[in-house]
Symmetry: C2
Subunit: 464 residues, 2 copies
């Protein structure tokens, strides 16, 4: 029943069913996603995947967001999905580690440009259908599914993207069930990829797989009608926990979308609370005139998930440093900031940063929630500064303000496409609800971008 | 070490290292795969996936095998992989239920046409590297990985395809490790798809994912160097069994390729032994002048895996009937043949076949290997005919003869592309070892094929 229940709920969902907080959070999520997707194009991995995919991509009218480039919807979903996650700066569902917008928005925007005449309201409704799909499905199997090593954002992401695109395709009930189950048997992403180029690829591939699954369902591809709950289907194959009935029964009654949060720092979310703490300690130390070179010891007590995810004492790249507790401590104390710049390869390899990171240790404590931390720093002469972060900035109880989100967006986006385009993009995302055609959104900034000098699909250039 | 060990072994493998039985079986495997891939284009699902993928495919010089159509290598890998498995007529590794050729050959042939100047010997060497990868990896996690619901052909297939293509790309050791781990985090296919359009899609998607993973690795995509054996990587995430060290230690010492077998009937392999038995009973009954309409009871004692995989008493489509013990019994007794024709939708819905299939029952017996069966049929007046099949035709101890394979190939292929083209294809596959460029193989028959009237990439045709 679960697959049918999800399909039926998603297909009947109307914009009028969305509460004001849901619409508000959906718009904020798309705005934050847009900033990450445009800004993410600065990372080398995005360019190299573009080069790798171009020989296989059709001409099209869907937009790469951070560089001038128009390809078919499926490959653009891949590229924008990858870019939106590469900085680990996107969003996080409070009750799971799902970063929900990436797979769904990347598929849906590329798809809407292809289809044409998708209104802002229809887009937002399909987007929410996709988000709710991801988070309800994730809750059904969390934490067992995640703890065994699956990257839950992409494993549920293909299904969310299929539901969102399937809604815009006006699939029938059965077609939507097929779209869901076809997406669900493409399970993307494991923790072994964390800190590498593969991690953002998960999100792009999930977007692409979901979009294609919906298109194939529209074209008549049949499959399991009960793909999610079948005894040899998704939930039972990928998890030892199965709460799908409970969570799908409250689809549309409890909105997970309102429990989405935005990252203040471009790194794994479990680092946000200790970073807040060290930035506070840095301020105290500056006020007291203490020397950072005198630091002998840096500690934190946090939720043990920090050790599971970020116990990398010697990262060699910016992407790896996003999963290094040690690097996070060093930049927070020495620079007092954690923006994409502090997670560049150059900063990661800086010898002063590296030296300080060797003085960091961490104690896992199950009684501490993952949005809290106790940090402590010992300076010369045994002076200890410490602090307790109860609710990290960006957590549900301490959300990013509209102003923070605006500054975050403009900072990421201006660096990639210039200030004027960034302002256009910022306004376009915030005002999307009134658009008559989602193609208007991307037109406001992509037409003015610079074309990247990509190695074009000639195999003699590429594969020899 | 496992990922590194596999990468190193695959990269150093030379044609001269292959024993004669390995080369012979590799050629037979490609020949059998070619017949299935060309013949598979008769199934409607192949045409509908072609329509669905065309808007996303680049122009290219890789060949759809059963119809005139040239696209980029990745989409052709998808299409030929799908077609090669759709009739469930391909090949099977004796020690696992892996159908090894599909993912690797589909990726490798499409890739070789794109790259150009790939000799028959280089192709065969890369093909064997891919096959051995799939089967060693599968053995490392079998049966637990399969029994929980994964379609092992596609879950190991993406890795096999990546290794094969990576070898032709002359990847470095590290690049090959990245190609392997990127392929491994795209886990395709579950049993819930069996008997539906999704099942052959698994194989195509695995081929496509593997090919793309190798290309991305060549382009510089980094990832886990130890993706297979990482504590949060492939083996540990998808299986509770982990014998990877034992099996990878005998790479190149024990050749799994020589333990490949070919399907005599286009349906799940566990049905082959009882089909043999019922065909024998049919002959006895004809000799004795018994009436098939008098049959009151049909039974078989077989390995219990039959009940796990083929317990579908009322299939509605040809694809579903490939996983129906009941349909298999009815066609074997009433028609005495099991070719693609007996697994068409029309035959499946035939009322006489359906009526007889209601009289079938099965007893699982763990002492009986899956290549054996005891069958028994009760006719009017209580006359019982029974037989014991010790080694089903097509099993390792009773392999298909060269003549059987030739007839099988020509039968499948002639129906799709005509007798003359079929003869050309037959000879081209059998003589591939001496080719200077694998493009010569496909040219012998694809240039003369008919172009299918496909709905071309205009979204207004396709998605509205």
């Amino acid at each position: 029943m679960a697959t049918k229940q999800l399909a039926s709920w998603a297909l009947t969902l109307q914009f009028a069913n969305l509460t004001t907080p849901v619409v508000d959070m959906a718009v904020k999520s798309l705005h934050n996603w847009g900033g990450c997707a445009i800004g993410g194009y600065h990372q080398p991995v995005v360019a190299l995947v573009q080069d790798a995919m171009v020989p296989f991509a059709a001409p099209g009218n869907s937009s790469l967001l951070g560089i001038q480039g128009f390809y078919d919807a499926q490959h653009v979903a891949l590229m924008n999905g990858l870019a939106s996650h590469v900085d680990d700066y996107d969003d996080t569902h409070v009750d799971t580690p799902i970063h929900p917008s990436g797979p769904v928005a990347s598929a849906l925007l590329a798809f809407s440009e292809w289809k044409g005449n998708v209104t802002g309201k229809d887009f937002l409704t399909a987007f929410v259908a996709g988000l709710e799909t991801e988070m309800k499905l994730g809750l059904s199997v969390y934490p067992e599914h995640y703890d065994i090593g699956w990257h839950i954002t992409s494993t549920v992401g293909s299904v969310g993207a299929a539901v969102a695109c399937g809604k815009l395709l006006n699939l029938t009930q059965e077609e939507m069930q097929f779209a869901i189950s076809t997406a669900s048997i493409q399970v993307i992403g494991m923790h072994s990829s964390f800190g590498t180029d593969q991690k953002p690829f998960h999100i792009g591939r999930a977007a692409q797989s979901g979009l294609f699954s919906a298109v194939m369902a529209k074209g008549g591809l049949h499959g399991a009608l009960d793909g999610l709950e079948d005894k040899l289907g998704w939930v039972n194959v990928v998890s030892t926990r199965n709460n799908i009935t409970d969570y799908f029964n409250i689809l549309g009654k409890v909105w997970e979308t309102t429990r989405n949060t935005f990252k203040p720092y471009p790194c794994d979310r479990v680092l946000h609370a200790p970073i807040d703490g060290w930035v506070q300690v840095r301020k105290q130390a500056l006020e007291q005139g203490l020397s950072f070179s005198s630091i002998t010891n840096i500690t934190a007590r946090t939720n043990p998930s920090v050790l599971f995810l970020t116990d990398n004492p010697d990262p060699q790249t910016g992407l790896a440093a996003k999963f290094s507790f040690y690097h996070a401590a060093a930049i927070s104390l020495l620079i007092g900031q954690a923006t994409p710049t502090q997670f560049s390869d150059e900063v990661v390899r800086n010898t002063t940063i590296k030296a300080l990171s060797k003085k960091v240790s961490v104690i896992g404590d199950k009684t501490i929630p993952d949005y809290s931390a106790y940090v402590s720093v010992t300076f010369g002469n045994g002076i200890v500064l410490d602090t307790h972060v109860e609710h990290a900035i960006g957590s549900l109880a301490n959300p990013l303000s509209d102003d923070y989100l605006r500054v975050k967006f403009l900072d990421q986006v201006s660096k990639q496409i210039g200030e004027e385009n960034a302002q256009c993009a910022h306004m376009a995302f915030l005002n999307m609800v009134d658009l008559r055609d989602m193609r208007e959104l991307t037109k406001t900034f992509t037409s003015k971008l610079t074309r990247r000098d990509s190695r074009r699909g000639d195999p003699s250039v590429y594969i020899m």
